[in-house]
């Protein structure tokens, strides 16, 4: 019998879709699609409320589905999606962060009669059309479906079990974010510039990712992560394809987590994007991208540990140092937080580089801790305002502690958590990743990490000093009293920060249980 005949006889399975296992993602995508329909059919006045209920309800339902799936350890959709501990843990985290983000996005009491988004995004900044739109007090609600699409992509990203799904998830996640970045109500030129930069560089990095995927396929003949892992075990004399492919896929993912030298977009984009979107990106994108990075290295490349570890150690070290050092001279609070997020990407890489089970679980824990602190910090930024919108220049924050001790106290708590001071979630997280790294034989990383924490503590504490020990400026910004949405978001951030600092054991245990990847 010839080969061709054999192929023809082989039975082809009908693809199966395990709807129950995929429920969290399906719900969120469903809500996103429904959101588009809401835009089309629901009267303008009712859209905001409908979107809000739909989005929050959908995310809550998806979270319930995640909880129901807990303990699941299998692959779904013909091996394209892994429903395992890390997937579910990260999806749960992403959904909670998504709920908080949507609450911030839906805040409408801070601007005079508006939200943080442009009334008519298509109108050129400064044009007549823009003035008309502002005068008409227009509100756009496309941000909700866009956010839900992005969130859907994020849910799929860390769960993708083959490289093509991963790429699709990456794009589904990124495209709405590019748009969202350009929607700021104030300083629209800056916002649009940020969106364009993010899009161009994102496309550039996607190209690297795709190029890498192609090479890995060329080497292993498969896109499935487990099959690639098997292929790397085989003795091949020439594995340049494998090495280059691995490096390029890593570059694509490192871009999304904002590791040096692929971080240059972060400060510009974080500064230009509407602050609720910045918070969403900083927290949720990082969680999703680290999930994907973990899965790629832990599932597809465990056999290549000795090849990727040295390079990634270098990346982590450079990331921590550059993030911490450059943050020192930042004068804009959003840029400072951007560089701080770069430094934190380095700390999280430290946990991942432990390349053991503790590495996975400590990274998962760190992502939860970091996500809530970040969202909380950006939520605080939205409240400190003057005539020009948010007062993001740090000099304007001088003496804030005298005027609004509560808000300044909350921000100080978030900064201390970023700095990793005990009794905050940041300390527990840092302790966990450093311990995992030390156990995993990455002692040098721990030393650099601790030193960088010390440098980073300087600029965090400097802001606290500025807030509490400087004279308030006469023309200083005012602190706007937000609606219950932002208040709840900040309160949740504070609660998670404190609870994970004082009583971290339950979540640590959960992360521990969830650290097994399905192969």
């Amino acid at each position: 019998m010839s080969e061709g005949l054999q192929l023809a006889v082989e039975k082809i399975d009908t693809p199966t879709i395990e709807y129950a296992e995929l429920a969290p993602m399906l719900i969120v995508f469903g809500v996103a699609v429904a959101g588009v329909l809401v835009e089309a059919f629901v009267p303008r006045k009712a859209r905001y409320a409908t979107h809000l209920v739909l989005a929050l309800g959908g995310m809550a339902a998806a979270f319930a589905a995640v909880v129901a799936l807990a303990g699941e350890q299998e692959v779904a959709a013909v091996g394209a999606v892994a429903v395992d501990g890390p997937s579910l843990f990260l999806q749960g985290t992403l959904l909670l962060l998504g709920i908080v983000s949507v609450m911030l996005i839906a805040e409408r009491r801070l601007e005079h009669g508006g939200d943080a988004f442009a009334p008519q995004a298509a109108a050129a900044p400064g044009s007549e059309a823009e003035k008309e739109a502002t005068a008409a007090n227009l509100h756009q609600t496309e941000v909700f479906p866009l956010t839900m699409f992005a969130l859907g992509g994020m849910l799929l990203f860390p769960a993708s079990n083959d490289l093509l799904t991963m790429f699709v998830a990456l794009e589904v996640m990124s495209l709405p974010l590019y748009l969202l970045c350009g929607l700021a109500r104030r300083r629209r030129m800056l916002s649009q510039e940020a969106a364009l930069k993010y899009f161009l560089l994102g496309a550039f990095s996607s190209a690297f990712f795709l190029f890498g995927v192609a090479m890995l396929y060329g080497y292993s003949g498969s896109l499935k992560l487990d099959r690639i892992a098997v292929a790397t075990g085989g003795a091949m004399d020439n594995d340049a394809l494998l090495l280059i492919g691995m490096a390029m896929v890593a570059v694509g993912l490192l871009f999304k987590v904002g590791a040096v030298p692929f971080h240059s977009w972060t400060p510009d984009v974080y500064q230009g994007a509407p602050t609720p979107i910045t918070g969403f990106m900083a927290a949720a994108t990082k969680v999703a991208a680290f999930g994907a990075l973990l899965r790629f290295f832990y599932v597809a490349m465990p056999g290549m540990k000795w090849d990727w570890r040295p390079v990634m150690v270098g990346v982590a070290i450079v990331t921590m140092i550059a993030g911490a050092v450059i943050a020192i001279t930042q004068t804009d609070v959003k840029r400072m937080l951007a560089y701080s997020s770069v430094a934190h990407a380095g700390f999280i890489l430290t946990g991942m580089l432990a390349a053991n089970e503790a590495g996975a679980s400590s990274t998962l824990f760190y992502l939860v801790a970091y996500g809530f602190v970040t969202l909380g910090a950006f939520a605080v930024v939205t409240l400190v305002r003057d005539a020009g919108g948010e007062a993001t220049h740090l000099s304007r924050w001088a003496g804030l502690g005298r005027r609004s001790p509560l808000l300044a106290g909350v921000f100080a708590l978030f900064l201390l958590a970023f700095a990793g001071i005990p009794l905050t979630s940041g300390f527990t997280g840092k302790f966990a990743v450093f311990q995992a790294a030390a156990d995993g034989g990455a002692g040098s990383l721990v030393i650099v990490g601790v030193l960088c924490s010390a440098i980073a503590a300087f600029f965090y504490v400097r802001v606290i000093v500025l807030m509490f020990f400087s004279e308030p400026r006469a023309d200083g910004p005012t602190v706007v009293v937000p609606s219950v949405l932002t208040t709840a978001a900040i309160a949740l951030g504070v609660a998670v920060t404190v609870v994970l600092g004082i009583l971290p054991q339950p979540v640590l245990d959960l992360a521990d249980k969830a650290s097994l990847f399905v192969h």
Partner: protein, 663 residues
Amino acid sequence: MTQTSVSSVYLASTEGGAGMHSVAASGVFSATWLVIGLPLLGAAVLLLGGRRTNRFGHWLGTLFALGSFAVAAALFAAMLGESGADRSIDQHLWNWVAVGDFQAEIGLHLDQLSMVFVLLITGVGSLIHIYSIGYMEHDENRRRFFAYLNLFLASMLLLVLANNYLLLYVGWEGVGLASYLLIGFWQHKPSAATAAKKAFIMNRVGDFGLAVAIFLMFTAFGTFSFDEVLGGSAAASDGTMTAIGLMLLLAACGKSAQFPLQAWLGDAMEGPTPVSALIHAATMVTAGVYLITRSAEIFNASPDAQLVVTIVGAITVLFGAIVGCAKDDIKKALAASTMSQIGYMILAAGLGPIGYAFAIMHLVTHGFFKAGLFLGAGSVMHGMNDEVDMRRYGGLRKYMPVTFVTFGLGYLAIIGFPLLSGFFSKDKIIEAAFAKGGTTGYVLGSVTLVAAALTAYYMTRVMLMTFFGRERWKEAPVGAPADWHEPHPHESPVSMTLPMIVLAFGSVFAGGLFVLNDAFVNWLTPVTGFSHGELPFSVWVVTGMATAMVALGVAVAYVQYARREVPAVAPQGSLVTVAARKDLYQDSINEGLVMRPGQYLTRLLVWLDGRGIDGFVGGLAAFIGGTSSRVRKVQTGFVRSYALSMFGGTAVVVAATLMARMA
């Protein structure tokens, strides 16, 4: 009896002691925690309740103290009903910290020794609460005062009831805190604030010793519990035991104002007089004696440490007595006397099993008569516009008869007038000192005899200057302020005289009751052990010598202060008198040896910190900041340069991955 028989015999018959056997608390004994809990609750209510409790705070505080005493009395009654072996009771409350090998338990240990202390603390404490109701009547912060007193009681009871050294340390620090708060209670007076700080800082030195001792115990035994530390001490190495013993002695010196950490006690008299009576005479300052007696097994295992204890005690006995002879401030004279009397106790405790029981016996009788004397002094001050200079007293017996009689009985007790409390307890210590044997025994015995004479001298002096002689307070003092008016001495209210009367009974009868059938010694023997020392001569010789020395001291004082006029202004005095007035230059010595070098050291460190460390840190910060500004310029804002940096980064990552394989 000959010298030779001494050394071989006196260590021979040690009964009881080492190896504690405890039963778990049940029945009445399960209420042991209440003894501490009640005053602690009182302190919490009064401190947290704030002004709302002002009206009844003093009654509440007194009630909690009395309640604690009632529980203590019930415990005592129950303990009398038990047989000797079952009188050692352990109450486990909860585990404080349990991490690996480190187990910290919150548990209480009630035995004959702690029972004595609990009764003394709650009994005298309750009396002083009652006394304070009258004494502090016009003080607007009376409620706070009672809160601190309750806090003190709780801490002191925790100290004596803890079943491990760590918990004892908590109580130890607690009494230090209460003492600090109460010495500085009138903190608007700079002298009181300074005295409080001085007491606190000098106590820190001692506390450091206790902390080190506890570290050493944990290192040597891996535990803090009395049972295991004391049970294991016989088997442990001599060096360790000596080190622990000396560190415990340092702690005792700090808390009990023993040489060389004695300087704070005189200044502590800045606190209200009830505080001086309770904390700085009857209870807290005796904590050092408790510590040494409780750690008997450690000291028994280290004769070197014991010798140092006796030396410290001997020096302090004389030191306090000499200073007491020259003080014109009635409270400072009594404070010097306290120091000297505690010196007796420390000396006795240093003698080992022949002395422990007598140290505690003297501690209890001293608690009665010294508290009584202080309360008497407070009563005198109360009637004399808070005057403390005895040269401005005189002839007060007519004006305050109750105070005169109770103070007089306390005076007779402390000098060791035959058949009063002090006579029995002090006599036993003198006997034990001689029974130590050898040259040491003779030296220590002589010291205690000389100190007995000095005690008689300075106490007679206090008595004569206060209650007898010309009424010097009627004349305006030299350089009196314009608004000076003649004091109108009067007897104190019944809330103040009643405690004095009760204490006077103790001063008179306690000693006699204790020695009847050796009751006190038998009571304590299961805990501290006891061995009969062999005296080089008859007991009656010692008693005779002691009584003769006392008579000598009284006679000299009589000649100086009753036969001659007491000048209203202190005369120049001899070199020794001047030295004694200045506390034998203790403050100058401390300043020269510790304070000034300390100040220089601080200055040097500040300088080093400023130039060296700050310079380095500042330089590093400037370097990082400079780097930051330079690197920041890479962030141009041009997307093309970002893309280039990404491309370059990718090239480096790919190249490095390939190189890693080759390497």
